[in-house]
Symmetry: C2
Subunit: 255 residues, 2 copies
Amino acid sequence: MRYFLYLAYDGTDFLGWQIQPAGRTVQGELEQRLSTMLRRPISITGAGRTDAGVHASQMVCHLNLDLSLGEMEQVTYRLRRFLPPDIALLEVRRVTEDAHARYDAVSRRYGYHVRTKASPFTRKYCTLVLETLDFAAMNEAASHLIGEHDFTTFSKKHSQVKTHICTVTEARWVRDSSFGECCYTFHITANRFLRNMVRGIVGTLFEVGRGKMEPSDFGDLLTARDRSLCGSSAPSEGLFLEEVTYPASIFEFDQ
Amino acid sequence: MRYFLYLAYDGTDFLGWQIQPAGRTVQGELEQRLSTMLRRPISITGAGRTDAGVHASQMVCHLNLDLSLGEMEQVTYRLRRFLPPDIALLEVRRVTEDAHARYDAVSRRYGYHVRTKASPFTRKYCTLVLETLDFAAMNEAASHLIGEHDFTTFSKKHSQVKTHICTVTEARWVRDSSFGECCYTFHITANRFLRNMVRGIVGTLFEVGRGKMEPSDFGDLLTARDRSLCGSSAPSEGLFLEEVTYPASIFEFDQ
């Protein structure tokens, strides 16, 4: 049987999602705890990767387990108590046998949190920006991202993807009280994301917000397809993978 | 000139407010950074103490500085950038020369945060309780706290206070979305608090919430004035000092 695990994690103390030869990763912790609990090697496949320090309020991965839904409920109960405190298991769903957490994802949504006033309680989840940011200008700039574009400008060099074309369906800053007052969140949704793309976009939008770049110039950067034009990456602590969406057909076992 | 500093801090990595011969404390960090910045020994007096791991969304302390309000603004600006990330300076107010952060405090308010569902992002600020808690019963029990009572039952042994009498003006559980869904906060306000009092009260209220104690029995515990009857202390991570209140007269310099 194939299952999707829905997870949340605090990325602060992880070297990212993907398992590595050395160092603590979310995939590594999950595979190790599941393997210990079930007494056989378990491997999981994530919907994507998050970089070191990046959080997820919803990450999805799939795994195969020869367990009925009833047995799976037991495993879920035990796993919840066995996971480290910086990973939470939100939900377990049975999916069709060929459902794939990465290839079947229809869209992904990221959130980037900014605070304009220091708070000791959100410092690991919001990027502190003490300069005044012009969010209206940043939103005008961000509107250029909507649609199907080549995102080479906002991609990392040497990334192994065949195409830099992504379709962005949402890209806007909103006031957000979820982390207290003086907080703004950038929500961006696309069918796929390139490595470093969100942090490159946010870092460049900061330059617009500080008045160092015009919103229309931001649009020109995108069409230039030149990664040397990208601003510096925004820090990892403000970035959350928020949602991964799948076609309803893979959840045919849901009541 | 005497000034009040309003502070917030994440207590996770502190041994508490009060300076100690060894170990990191909030008072110690503040005095050290202020002394370094101003190149002379600076000592501060807090409104009270918080124990190891306890947070403050608003703590107050006083200090004397021969600086005009204009010079103080400069110091505030520099101090904000010089403080460690787990302490934030919220506000600086000039007060009358004899104003005392501890003795002049009229009331203090604490908040105790509980979550009934795990979250990696609030684990350091909310206590996770996976059992079902009957908040209505806990509120019925908490109503016995209102008024002037001897709180010996909820005090630590060997505390050096002369009296255990406190006047509680607020003691109730409310649903609270500030830390996300499934969060409840216990707000308690009193003219003064004894050491361990809030955590002792909350730990005992948990027993009521789990159905192990009747709300009326909780009232009997209080009147028994017997600290052996107190439940185990609730963990420190859920506890916040939320507010310290002073008479308006000490702020005569405010416009």
